[in-house]
Amino acid sequence: MAGVFVWWIGEGQEDRPLMEHVRVELARAFAAPVYLWQSPERPRHAYDERRKQWHTTPILRWLGEAGPGTGKVLGITDRDLFIPILTYVFGEAQLGGTAAVLSLARLQDDVARRGRRLLEDRAAKEAVHEVGHAFGLLHCHVPGCVMTRSPAVREVDDKRPELCADCRAQIEATIQGAE
């Protein structure tokens, strides 16, 4: 199968250990090759001056156009993301599509006190979650499954970075169908 490309698209310094942790967890979750993608371009057109946030819809479109052009691409940013109807989102993905995006901005809660490993774990879980959507997975009801909806950080902390058996079976069926 084509791989998953993880691309730092933030405005601040790239967090290499975090990116590496995300890469490893994605590879484990999807049993697929996962690569770190490097490019200096940034989706600055997606910044909304009024909301002081970044709009995910143009970012996703841009990731598809400016990215590696194959497989799935996950952009990770340090900026706060939104969709027009919601005050914020942790991330967003094209359901069954190519691109996914994830923000670290709202995953920082309590990290200063509990250590940066917490941020890496949260980022890995949300990365698997968004890439799962790009593979066509919907939100899941199985407690602990990474595909359960997590509207707040506490729900992110409650789940594991893994897919439940049902979601894994669905991914395998999707991949086999595509091959």
Binding site: I83, P84, I85, L86, T87, H133, L138, H139, H141, R149
Partner: protein
């Protein structure tokens, strides 16, 4: 949360809002459709059944409140969530008054949206589950058109089901309005004779001579006005069931004639000589104490025993008050469907009064009171004054200050007594001190129904109830 049966319609004139909200909801597994304005939303609502409508308040042309109003008419169970960029108390109040489920200010918090959707879905599944359970309960509590959860009535149903399979004569006992005819019809439908006629005759409504000809038929010229040969109810019911209502009210001659038919299964038409064989299953009913009448010599003892093969006693409503809420719900559902009117139920005050009332006219009176309530109520919940129940201990006070003719006063009084007895003609006649035939004649003359209400032809005129 992810429930594929939950269809959501998102209506917003801004494509970006539709797309982002639709995409967000799709990831929860909902089936999402989108519409860009009110008219196209209403078209979709007509074409398919949605569980949730999420609609923007401010749209060009038809606004969110107008869509809400129309959508609720199409599907009253639809959960409608209004979205707006600006929160004003006035619009929120109007939206909620018009039946909106909730009101969201854009942009909303993902947690808030998530919880709202979960709340709607779990509430709707509870409503569905409730409906299924209610249906199941009703099935358990039902014997054809009769509904009861009281143990006494359950025994009645059990006995009726068993009796239905036999060919024996059944005597249904019970106060007026308890549903003696309804039970008899149910027995007929459950019996092997169900595809043959069910013929009902009220023995109290006619004079003895007329009843005789009604039951046994007559030959042409047998009496003045008998211009042609006519089959009686016995012959009409051949192969089926003959229901003799108010059998306790028939006179001595007919009692003897009836006994003969029951014994010989043969009859002669009035004025005829031919013996006609009839195969009829008799279900007789009375609100009188036939045993007492037999002991007192007012009713033939041999006929009493002929009729009393399988006696079934229907308890009065006041002895099975636990059935009242079930009956209220059932009648209101039927009335709402008949009247094409939305009726949610009784107010707490009205229900308390209904539970406390003595119901001398039993289930029939309850139905009439609810029908009146359903007609006069201004809202969807029937209030206590809508029911027109007499205050406790105050049986129908006369309306003061109206000058009326003697006949009008008489008409009103007869109507009031009929209403009070719940349409029990025999009881009303006793109270009024006249015989039943005279009462029937008066009712016919004034166009009064058994419940004391006017016949529809006389509508527009206020009735004498209360």
């Amino acid at each position: 949360m992810a429930d594929e049966s939950t269809r959501i319609l998102v209506v917003d004139d801004e494509e970006i809002v539709r797309e982002s909200l639709g995409g967000w909801l799709e990831k929860d597994g909902y089936h999402v459709e989108m519409a860009e304005d009110g008219p196209s939303a209403l078209k979709r609502l007509q074409a398919a059944r949605f569980a949730v409508l999420i609609v923007d308040l401010k749209m060009p042309g038809m606004d969110g409140l107008q869509v809400l109003e129309q959508a609720k008419k199409l599907n009253p169970d639809l959960a409608v969530v209004l979205m707006t960029a600006y929160a004003t108390v006035d619009t929120a109040v109007s939206a909620m008054k018009m039946g909106a489920y909730d009101y969201l200010v854009k942009p909303f918090d993902p947690e808030e949206m998530s919880m709202l959707m979960q709340k709607i879905v779990s509430q709707q599944s509870l409503v569905r589950e409730n409906a299924v359970l209610r249906q199941a309960l009703k099935k358990e509590y039902r014997f054809r058109d009769l509904l009861s959860k009281s143990p006494a009535m359950q025994s009645v149903f059990e006995l009726a089901r068993t009796a239905a399979r036999s060919n024996s004569t059944i005597l249904v006992l019970g106060e007026s309005g308890t549903g003696k005819e309804v039970l008899s019809r149910a027995i007929h439908v459950e019996s092997p004779r169900h595809d043959q006629p069910f013929v009902a005759v009220s023995c109290a409504a006619l004079t003895e001579t007329l009843l005789e000809s009604e039951l046994f038929g007559h030959e042409k010229g047998s009496f003045t006005g008998a211009i042609a040969r006519r089959k009686g109810k016995f012959e009409q019911a051949h192969g089926g069931t003959l229901f003799l209502d108010e059998v306790g009210d028939i006179g001595p001659k007919l009692q003897l004639d009836l006994l003969r038919v029951l014994e010989e299964r043969k009859l002669q038409r009035v004025g005829g000589n031919e013996q006609i064989e009839v195969d009829v299953r008799i279900i007789a009913a009375t609100n009188r104490d036939l045993r007492k009448a037999a002991l007192e010599g007012k009713f033939r003892e041999d006929l009493y025993y002929r009729l009393n093969v399988i006696p079934i006693l229907i308890p009065p409503l006041r002895d099975r008050r636990e059935d009242i809420p079930l009956l209220v719900e059932n009648f209101l559902e039927r009335l709402a469907a008949e009247m094409k009117k939305k009726i949610d139920g009784l107010s707490a005050e009205a229900m308390s009064a209904v539970l406390a009332h003595d119901w001398p006219g039993n289930v029939r009176e309850l139905r009439n009171v609810l029908e009146r309530g359903a007609v006069v109520t201004q809202g969807t919940t029937i209030q206590l004054p809508d029911l027109g129940l007499p205050a406790r201990g105050e049986p129908h006070p006369p309306r003061p200050g109206t000058m009326a003719s003697l006949e009008e006063v008489e008409r009103r009084h007869v109507a009031a007594v009929l209403s009070h007895t719940g349409g029990n003609v025999s009881q009303s006649a006793r109270i009024l001190g006249i015989d039943r035939v005279t009462l029937y004649n008066k009712m016919k003359k004034w166009g009064l129904r058994r419940d004391g209400e006017d016949e529809p032809a006389r509508d527009g005129e206020s009735t004498a109830r209360g």
